[in-house]
């Protein structure tokens, strides 16, 4: 095993799950998330010699987001079927229910807006960093973020209070009480 392979294995062990988490938030499907992560990891391996010790996370994130967006542009991969209402979830515990509600709401947000939300609120990137990943202007990121949150709020419907601290507390109180 070469030094590059050893370094790559160490990076893989440390970051593969987080990267798949990003992919899962984007597509809402574990299998597809795994495909996207595998593509990203392979591209990362190929680019490893020139990336050296820096920029690996940013590169991998960029590949994940762009692969997701490219796949979405292909009509045959559009397999999301948005239902009219959030799912009825009465048999699962509060945390899982909240998680599933957010997941369902997220799949209803248009892909590019979803990518902006994931980069901003999951990867914790600044507006400028998100713009760099998506290859657009910071202004576009800001507008897409606002629209994405609006779409998420609309989609959550009666559960939109989840997006506020008070709503989260209420939810916890309701499910625990």
């Amino acid at each position: 095993m070469t030094t590059q392979d050893e370094d790559f294995s160490a990076y893989f062990a440390a970051r593969a799950h987080a990267l798949r988490g990003t992919a899962y938030l984007l597509c809402g499907d574990w299998h597809r998330a795994e495909d996207i992560t595998q593509v990203a990891m392979t591209k990362l391996y190929l680019a490893w010699p020139r990336l050296r010790d820096h920029g690996m996370d940013a590169y991998a994130r960029k590949v994940v987001v762009r692969t997701f967006l490219a796949e979405n542009r292909r009509l045959w991969r559009r397999r999301e079927h948005v239902t009219g209402e959030p799912p009825e979830l009465s048999t699962v515990d509060g945390d899982a229910e909240r998680r599933l509600l957010v997941e369902a709401a997220l799949t209803a947000v248009p892909p590019r807006q979803r990518a902006v939300l994931v980069l901003r609120y999951w990867n914790d990137l600044s507006v400028e960093e998100a713009a760099e990943v998506l290859g657009c202007s910071p202004g576009t990121v800001k507008s897409q973020t606002a629209r994405g949150i609006d779409a998420l709020r609309r989609r959550l419907g009666p559960h939109r209070a989840l997006l506020t601290e008070e709503g989260g507390d209420l939810w916890t109180g309701r499910t625990n009480g």
Partner: protein, 109 residues
């Protein structure tokens, strides 16, 4: 807005941080695939280089062996006329050569 941002981060953290099913691929598998892709790319680059070299060689050979057409003679300069006196070419002037006649001796001498 900041509180909403924090809440969103927390919600996204819950969804993205899920354990999920075990990963279906490994670092070794990715490295193997990566090496194969690298090999294919190198082979393609080598073949591409050879093709370019062949095309350039053939082009140069064709250019070198092309028949050269004989050069056309230069066209004579145009004759121009001017209003001023023209010098008569030397070959057109006539010269008169003086002739001497010798008297033939007579018998009376």
């Amino acid at each position: 807005m900041d509180r909403e941002d924090e809440r969103l981060k927390s919600l996204f953290g819950e969804v993205g941080g899920q354990q999920g099913p075990p990963l279906g691929f490994s670092a070794a598998g990715v490295a193997r695939r990566g090496r194969r892709i690298r090999l294919v790319r190198r082979a393609a680059a080598a073949v591409g280089g050879l093709v370019v070299l062949a095309v350039v060689t053939v082009s140069v050979a064709l250019a070198a062996n092309r028949e050269v057409e004989p050069a056309t003679p230069p066209t004579p300069p145009l004759v121009t006329t001017t209003d001023g006196p023209t010098a008569t070419p030397e070959y057109l002037t006539t010269t008169t050569t003086p002739t001497t006649t010798l008297d033939t001796p007579t018998a009376t001498d």
